[in-house]
């Protein structure tokens, strides 16, 4: 059996430690998360090695286990990359079937909301070790760096998009594309109507029309 019990225990211990440390830094988030995990939530990774992780609330802590529980409130299973995509905010993993969900959908929504609302106070944690002023200084710099990287990333995206659409003309612009799609839809409808009309006319031509033989309609 791989991974063996010792490795599994090491893995769950690390994950449990990380989750509880994060929750220690957000008491409100902890309360919400513990409420959601009153019933166990189970994650099963199918490849490359089958691995199960179960999250449940024990007292004021989140407990992570590696054994499947009888009836989890929510069970998500799929490949590791699908879980990574979900963690990065890609909800299409459910629609595309990369992740399968079983159990209570309300729990799924509550769990996702609890994750979204989680806002650990990293600056507070850092302040306990290095003092308030240095922690605030580092926090400010980090927040500035994150803000800058987000803004730089969106500006870069916009510039690349503009270059491709407007300058190199490698791809049509969004509005052009929408207009073309509209035209195609219109054309498709017209072709369907024409087909129906032709069908109707060919039926008329192929079969004797009772109206033709009726003197009062001739």
């Amino acid at each position: 059996m791989y991974p063996g019990p010792t490795l599994q225990a090491a893995l769950t211990r690390i994950i449990e430690g990380a989750i509880n440390t994060a929750l220690d830094l957000d008491p409100a988030g902890r309360a919400t998360m513990l409420e959601v995990l009153a019933q166990p939530v189970q994650f099963s990774v199918t490849e490359p090695a089958p691995l199960t992780l179960t999250l449940s609330a024990v007292g004021q802590q989140v407990r992570v286990g590696s054994s499947a529980v009888g009836e989890p409130a929510l069970h998500l299973s799929g490949q590791p990359l699908a879980f990574v995509a979900l963690a990065l905010g890609d909800n299409s993993v459910f629609a595309s079937g990369r992740l399968t969900v079983a159990g209570d959908t309300a729990t799924a929504h509550q769990f996702q909301r609890a994750l979204d609302q989680l806002d650990p106070d990293w600056e507070g944690a850092l302040a306990r070790h290095i003092g308030d002023i240095p922690a605030h200084f580092i926090g400010q710099r980090l927040r500035g760096a994150i803000r800058w990287s987000k803004s730089a990333s969106s500006v870069l995206n916009a510039n690349v998009e503009e270059y491709i659409h407007e300058e190199s003309r490698s791809l049509p612009g969004r509005r052009e594309l929408e207009a073309t799609f509209g035209d195609i839809d219109q054309l498709s409808l017209q072709v369907e109507r024409l087909e129906a009309r032709i069908e109707q006319l060919s039926q008329k031509a192929g079969s004797p029309d009772p109206a033709d033989s009726s003197p009062e309609h001739s």
Binding site: G4, P5, T6, R13, S67
Partner: protein, 263 residues
């Protein structure tokens, strides 16, 4: 009857007579073993946790974690932690059973019990834990009392293991689970050689340096070798009346967790 399932002693040694038993590689009178084991643990109690961490490089926490996970203990359960020592398992069980349950920390050794009680109190564990000085062969509890019974790294020190297993089975409720976490036989010959080298050289040295007592850690290494292997212990559990007995090798069989259910 004592240790009729234990493997043969090391080459050159005679198997114990009926009135003797093993104490490491030595044979001692049955009525002396408990006293000698008690001396070992009186000697190491103060440094027990530190030595456990050093000797196992912290892995004993992972072995215990797996044991807790497999216990299936839920809020409201009654759990008996035999040879509970400094209370590692009791602490986790206490969290799991909650205020509606109860955990009994039992140990034959007063020094270990004292260290365990102090440690648990210091960490705020109180209310659902009881401390009992008890011999695993003669448990002072009525039958069908506990949902789960655990004995971690304690069974090899018991004089009459069969009697202890029978008594642990007796106090379990029907459907209850017995978990025996104990050193065992490595499954890989290479690992076995490295393990021998480590335990017969490094352990006594560490014992001398940290706890000032190499003899106790020499006994530890010897008692592990004299303990029944995985299949023998499984058979002993079945003979004690448990069903669905199975074992999980950990860290290549250095340690094994045996689990059995009382029918």
């Amino acid at each position: 009857m004592t240790q009729q399932h234990t493997p043969s002693p090391t080459p050159g040694e005679q198997p114990p007579r009926d009135d003797t038993t093993h104490f490491g590689f030595r044979s001692v009178a049955k009525d002396q073993k408990a006293g000698q084991v008690a001396d070992v643990f009186h000697s190491v109690a103060g440094k027990y946790d530190l030595m456990n961490d050093l000797m196992s490089m912290g892995i004993h926490r992972l072995w215990k974690r797996f044991t807790i996970e497999l216990s299936g203990v839920r809020p409201g359960h009654r759990v008996l932690d035999i040879a509970g020592g400094t209370g590692d398992l009791t602490m986790k069980f206490s969290d799991l059973v909650g205020s509606g349950g109860q955990v009994v920390l039992a140990d034959i050794n007063a020094s270990m019990l004292q260290v365990g009680r102090g440690r648990l109190m210091d960490r705020g564990y109180a209310g659902n834990i009881e401390y009992v000085q008890a011999d695993a062969e003669h448990l002072p509890f009525p039958e069908n009392s506990f949902n789960a019974v655990s004995i971690a790294f304690g069974l090899r020190n018991v004089t009459d293991k069969d009697q202890a297993l029978r008594d642990m089975t007796r106090v379990l409720k029907p459907g209850g689970k017995l978990m025996v976490l104990e050193f065992s036989k490595p499954t890989n010959p290479l690992l076995s050689k490295a393990y021998d080298l480590y335990s017969f050289n490094a352990l006594p040295l560490m014992g001398q340096l940290i706890a000032g007592d190499s003899a106790s850690y020499q006994y530890l290494a010897e008692s592990i070798r004299m303990h029944p292997d995985q299949d023998t212990l499984k058979n002993m559990m079945e003979a004690a009346g448990l069903v669905n007995c199975k074992y999980y090798n950990m860290t290549g069989g250095v340690v094994a967790l045996h689990v059995g259910i009382k029918p």
